[in-house]
């Protein structure tokens, strides 16, 4: 089982498919859950304080707006720990965690910069595209299993 960074980071479709095909989606919701359950901080609604934009300095310089850095403090660690990624381009509309175009650009860039297996694909608009979408994602995720099995057996052989 691999940890998969998905983009959009809040996607129902992607997190469902990743889990369905045997992997763990690294999702923003998990980050938010951890944030809001932090004991002793009372900064509604997300419990994000001025500290998060500072943590985001790891991913973007201080000249980058605080909202970008604050979001990067959430999504950055997900990218760092990912073992594979799926980027779906052109989501119609996404808000909140996905509401800032600059953050989204940086997120995609940083995922692409990681040396990990990556699938880039579009949201389906037709039935055929829907079939292609599921097939490509399923194949990509299954291959991850095969690859990891192969590398395990290689290690054993060594």
């Amino acid at each position: 089982m691999a940890q998969i960074i998905i983009y959009p980071t809040t996607s129902l479709i992607l997190s469902d498919l990743v889990r369905r095909f045997g992997h763990e989606p690294l999702v923003m919701m998990e980050q938010i859950r951890e944030k809001i359950n932090t004991v002793g901080i009372d900064s509604p609604p997300l419990n994000i304080t001025g500290q998060e934009p500072k943590k985001g300095l790891k991913y973007a310089a201080v000249e980058v707006p605080a909202g970008v850095r604050g979001r990067m403090a959430l999504v950055g660690p997900l990218i760092d720990s990912a073992e594979a990624g799926i980027i779906v381009d052109e989501p119609d509309i996404a808000f909140g965690c996905m509401g800032c175009a600059r953050t989204n650009e940086l997120t995609k860039y940083l995922i692409r910069q990681r040396d990990i297996p990556l699938l880039e694909i579009y949201y389906p608009r037709t039935e055929d595209e829907g079939k292609e979408f599921v097939k490509q994602i399923a194949t990509f995720l299954k291959e991850l299993n095969n690859n990891s099995k192969n590398s395990e057996s290689e290690e054993e052989a060594n």
Binding site: D16, M29, R33, I36, I93, F95, C97, G130, V134, K135
Partner: protein
Amino acid sequence: MKPKRVIKISSEDEKKKDNITRIIVTNSESMLPSDVMMKVYHSSSDVTAKETCFGTMINGPIESVNKVVEDVVSMDPNHIFVKDRGFLPGDERRCRSSRGGGPRPGFHFLREEVNTLPLISKGLEAYYKGESPSSGFEAKQKLDAFKLKYIIESEEM
């Protein structure tokens, strides 16, 4: 209104850390949201469930939620989808009634994705049947210049 503290500093903290919320979204012709609710209550007594416009939110300890989700999805795997949620159902920090209206930000995107679910269901059905799509993604190309020229000329006639 003072925001409700969901987590209190108490011995309950550790337990709450293992407490998660998932949303079950159905895109099934054969199932009603009430069927989901029935299944949820038959599956585990540890969880709480709340129906929303887009799906059923299940909250409880990880193991129980996972079991419930598995049981519900098994009713119609290709048409039932699951997503995590950061906030507990009805958390005042996100609830529109306590926060001056306006839906929570993730709502609009969820709605967009729900509209795409029928295509995903078709994709899953085809995948499990081993069908190959007849054509992949249609490449988005600019109109061929000759075609454009033809259109302009035919307009002029």
